[in-house]
Symmetry: C2
Subunit: 154 residues, 2 copies
């Protein structure tokens, strides 16, 4: 119990969220205020504010609340050291996807699938083709050629 936290009204003004949303999110565990007054009224911490702000921005970007929920649970699975994804992680999003930027890599919040940078690789590869290969003989790119069968008919 402490009285230093942010009240419901303040949070509404700060985040632009409605009382209904705060209430529902509290009840369903999306963002639960850290403290309460003696009367049982919510007091949001600064970290709570950040989480709410992030949620708001994701919503503005078209992400549904359900998707945010699922992302949070999946992220705390992928990154056990992360307790509060909404406040701790670098997120990027549009309607369909939440991307997590983490240690130079990017992966999707829901599936955990890592994103590829096709073009970045391509630039390196392009150089090698240009320099080293004549159109006639080149197997630099080969994904997994079993034993160099010539001209397989697929």
């Amino acid at each position: 119990m402490n009285d230093t936290g942010y009240s419901c009204q303040q949070v509404m003004r700060i985040t632009g969220l409605t009382r209904r949303q705060l209430s529902y999110w509290r009840k369903t565990g999306l963002v639960v205020p850290q403290d309460n007054t003696r009367g049982g009224h919510a007091r949001y911490s600064f970290a709570d504010l950040l989480a709410l702000k992030t949620a708001r921005k994701l919503i503005d970007a078209g992400v549904s609340v359900q998707r945010i929920r699922r992302s949070i649970t999946s992220l705390t699975g992928f990154l056990p050291s992360c307790n509060a994804p909404l406040t701790e992680l670098s997120l990027v999003a549009t309607g369909d996807v939440i991307l997590v930027l983490h240690r130079e890599a990017a992966f999707e919040a829901l599936s955990g699938q890592e994103w590829i940078y096709p073009v970045a690789e391509l630039e390196r590869e392009a150089a090698s083709i240009r320099g080293e290969m004549a159109p006639e003989q080149n197997d630099l790119f080969e994904q997994s050629l079993p034993a160099r069968q010539e001209a397989v008919q697929q």
Copy 2:
């Protein structure tokens, strides 16, 4: 007509795509070889190779061919100066989304919607709250307060 391009077999080895795919993509206009031999056989240019490689990588990342098609048409709409999105743009993708990195910004290939970086903004905002605001009075964050009505009941 020239004979310096890459033959179908070579392209298959280089890109890991099947003959069927090359054939179908040629027929449907996804990637059409730049040249032909006198006999009417395909000769892929280096740029074609890059496009094929990129397509392959997108597919590996779970993007469907249909989505690639739609992304290409939408991108040539957004960026009229870009004739061959697959070879010219920086793309990042997972199954659901293709992101285009373009001039410091990121936007989705299909919708053109720009991605937001909630946390980047948050860091700046966090500083201002921490520094300037006591929990009691703070409307720095206010989205669009009409005329400062106190405590609106929503």
